[in-house]
Symmetry: C2
Subunit: 347 residues, 2 copies
């Protein structure tokens, strides 16, 4: 009996046994262990033969002669693919604990990262939702005092941007009104890409008389809109890394923790993840497959969640390659679902 992977049923079972056992213990697993652990009723000698084959095929490997076997990246990949294929789990309700203090999205996402971390014992990250094609919903300028104007810009998904603008001379109420009209009629419903320099120039022109002040204001508005680097990333449980000796030994642990602190690389991870679209929105990167080289000794599991308006955010779990994939994937799906629902409810 041979599966689509070209592995006999028995080899498959043995591979599974090796992986499962290694996930639990983190130690290389030997033939005798398998012989007892499984219900195959095979002697250790037979297992040894099979394992030799599996090694030759590249699914497992020996850290050194006369040690047991550990799964290779290829072995993990086979295992994960298998898990992913399994029919959608029934999605139980996520811990209520998340809803406790979650009145603001920020709080909610922080909480999500924290819950996930304590739930899985791995390092986690959650990014705030982003959208390349945000639309402007509302713009308003108001005088705060004689020398300052505040610009309030509401984008689709109720993302709010503010900008304080210094002006030399106060704008009259009338001018302010005109300007607001102009901005709203021109820009409302536009996506950020659509607002180019040409359009801005035209706006300035139309703004007319006070264009010196006004162009200043417009620049500021354009500036406020442009600032697209406001994707926040919340992390939790980075120190969980230390729970896995194979990661905490060398200084790669430090690099990972550092990546979590500086967040630059996580941003990269999010971007890449959002780019690769697939049906479930869940992706597993094993070892070298990762988009972030710092994590080449880890496995990274990411999931995409959606708000309305095409806003998308990312959840990520970073852990050792011997991650409890089954549990992680289940948790991911749950959280993904929860977030989806929560945000859609709010729409």
């Amino acid at each position: 009996m041979v599966t689509e992977h070209g592995l006999s049923d028995r080899k498959m079972k043995i591979l599974h046994a090796v992986i499962k056992n290694y996930l639990e213990t983190g130690e290389p697993v030997g033939s005798r262990t398998i012989s007892k652990y499984t219900d195959l009723n095979l002697s250790s000698a037979t297992i040894r033969n099979e394992m030799a084959d599996l090694e030759e095929l590249g699914y497992i490997l020996q850290p050194h002669t006369s040690a047991g076997r550990i799964p290779s990246d290829k072995g993990y990949r086979l295992y994960v693919d298998m898990l992913m294929e399994e029919k959608e789990q029934e999605l139980s309700e996520m811990q209520e604990q998340m809803l406790d203090k979650a009145d603001k999205m920020e709080q909610l996402l922080k909480q999500a990262a924290r819950v996930l971390a304590s739930n899985t014992n791995y390092a986690t990250m959650v990014s705030t939702p982003m959208n390349n094609s945000k639309k402007i919903k509302f713009i308003q300028l108001s005088m705060v005092d004689a020398e300052q104007v505040i610009a309030v810009i509401v984008l689709g998904g109720n993302v709010i941007k503010n900008k304080i603008i210094d002006v030399e001379e106060p704008l009259s109420n009338e001018n302010l009104l005109k300007l607001n009209m102009l901005l709203n009629t021109t820009l409302n419903g536009m996506s950020i890409e659509e607002i180019n320099l040409g359009l801005i120039a035209r706006l300035k022109e139309q703004a007319g008389i006070h264009s010196s002040v006004i162009s200043n204001v417009l620049d500021a508005v354009a500036d406020a809109i442009q600032i697209e680097e406001d994707m926040q990333i919340y992390t939790s449980g980075a120190t969980n890394i230390f729970k896995y000796p194979e990661l905490s030994d060398n200084q790669s642990a430090q690099e990972i923790i550092n990546a979590f602190e500086e967040k630059q690389q996580l941003t990269e991870l999010v971007t890449q993840t959002l780019a690769k679209e697939d049906n479930t929105g869940i992706q597993v990167y094993i070892g070298d497959e990762t988009p972030v080289q710092t994590m080449k000794d880890c496995s990274v599991v990411t999931a995409t969640y959606e708000l309305g308006d095409g806003m998308k955010g990312t959840i990520g779990i970073i852990g050792p390659k011997r991650m409890d994939y089954e549990h992680v994937l289940k948790s991911m799906k749950r959280l993904q679902n929860e977030l989806d629902q929560m945000f859609h409810k709010k729409e």
Copy 2:
């Protein structure tokens, strides 16, 4: 010759030598080293006698018999007090590098933390400025669309808060105008403490007719003002902790890193620091003196910087007890100065 500390001049010099040497090497320092290192021209035997005295007085201690001496917390304290007394250094200009991308305060503070970390090789944190007595400068409600109102509240120091409020029925322009008038005339110039439930009740009363909608709005406004937990803390270089074996050995390193990630404890640190007012605004906590127990094996140096309006923020450096205090204090003073100036310029 005896100083105010009750230590002979010679003992003082030896203590200094021990500390300096230990700061550099991190190894216990022996009598022979001191004998050569200093210009005292004393034999190691004499040094030994003096060191025995210093140990009895509690300024230095032996990790184990037949090891050299290391400074005790008390020893560090003496040393640091001495440094603090020194006349203000001439404050050279801080690296321009900080100003590069610093168009927003957030960016600037992040950058500050980063610069400080790379400059000192310790872990650093910078908190956004806070003020318990923020005053309301400007309030405005506007309709975003038929069902949503946005409240914009500008506080002293140009801190801006936004809140989106769902309403069942649109507010008429007239009502909106009335409401804005009411809010501004009543609340402008008030500090947050002054706005109590009584005042809010009175406001609602005055709001009159549409009080069902309006009270909803007012609640939201009150809510937005209340949210005072928006102090952000930016950290950098947490992994520098690993550079000091005495910290990275035990799991206390993990706790520290974790504190840096979760930030809860740092908030505590900031609060405590701001509470203790002193002339220079710089404080050094050695070992157990720290307000945050997690860092009891470290030294923590904090400085307060000021915006106008009584807004204050905190800079912190966390490192091993054998921190290069001289350099750190100098850097702190510089950065403190830079931030002070930068913000005051903006006022």
